[in-house]
Subunit: 221 residues, 2 copies
């Protein structure tokens, strides 16, 4: 009996976050853990990411990628969606609820993440610029606009639209990028929401697996 | 015989681009035209976008939204994907090709659009700041990195992965936001790619329809 090969994902050999689980492979690991699909990881160095062999998998020279037989994908959103379509557990069965869960995936990636990316890029690449100190609060306020709206929408609900879905997975993963900034604490409903995500056993398994790349320890031992 | 109601989308009553087709309703209009689905448009003022009635449809107080019977969606990516799933013409039948087309939708929205949004935000909100002139080329160079990679990937192909798909629709729509900047002209393969998108009859119908909001003329007369 032939056993289907486990999909292979790529991750940073040395993630810039030092194992805090903020690199985009974490989203894919988390989705795979949620649906109970084992996977293999190929670690890629910063240099190798920009070489033709990796660019053939990812035209923008980034991680993660996803290989499954003949299929090769990139973009964490697309990979998580692919996993969610092929397995039960990350998208509702009801057609309308499914479309709404997918909407939250796109909202996380195209409405909430861009200002957060801007903050990270600013901190990473503009720290030595003359305008850094003045511009930082401008960038942060743009994020606050989004966080306030998201918090108002979420209200006292556990998840964005009924049961936990790929939309929540992506939104929590995006919001986690703000944790070190302290901005999330200004929105107690959102920090509780993120904490609910982090408390999921699948999240913890995925987190331990990405951390093990740094500690060199097996996540289970 | 009951005829299914046409979906209703929202668009700016007065788009900030003055009818250049850069607002995100254009992507939805284009998708609907590609699949031959008629639709209705409800125009929303800037004030009304932030009111509870519209926020019930779009938690971030933006356009477009999409209403179809009991279903209400927001996020242009999610709406275009919903249209592409329900109709033939925007996603390939082959499962792997379909997953790759979806990958390009996410790549357009989460990898290519964020630096372009940063440029637009910079031009719109930071023009009077002391750092504007110095920071602008930094932002533009980040876009050039992505454009160069995308151009290398596209090469001499007409579309990103075989036949025209929702991935191309989204990528062309995102790249069009750069047209006025002249940056697209630095990448002849990409400007030809965008021109192929604009030459599609469905694009032209969608463009004329959004322009008619400004001219007050019916797009067909």
């Amino acid at each position: 009996m032939s056993v289907p090969m486990a999909p292979i994902i790529t991750a940073f050999e040395r993630s810039p976050d030092g194992g805090k689980g903020l690199a985009r492979d974490m989203r894919v690991r988390w989705a795979l853990e949620e649906v109970g699909q084992s996977y293999e990881v190929r670690l890629v160095s910063f240099g190798a990411m920009k070489e033709p062999a990796h660019r053939a998998l990812h035209p923008f020279g980034q991680i993660p990628t996803y290989e499954e037989g003949d299929l090769a994908l990139f973009e964490s959103g697309a990979i998580v969606f692919h996993i969610a379509e092929r397995h039960a557990g990350l998208l509702p069965d009801d057609a309308n609820a499914r479309a709404r869960a997918i909407t939250w995936m796109f909202a996380a990636l195209n409405t909430v993440e861009p200002p957060i990316l801007d903050l990270q890029t600013t901190k990473l690449l503009e720290r030595d610029k003359s305008w850094y100190e003045q511009r930082l609060p401008v960038v942060e306020d743009r994020i606050r606009d989004r966080l306030g709206e998201l918090s108002d929408y979420l209200g006292d609900a556990d998840w964005l639209d009924g049961a936990f879905s790929a939309g929540d997975l992506m939104m929590v993963a995006v919001l986690l990028r703000l944790k070190a900034s302290g901005m999330l604490d200004e929105y107690p409903k959102l920090s509780a929401y993120v904490a609910r995500g982090e408390a999921r056993p699948a999240y913890k398994r995925a987190f331990d697996a990405q951390l093990a790349v740094f500690t060199g320890k097996s996540p289970t031992g």
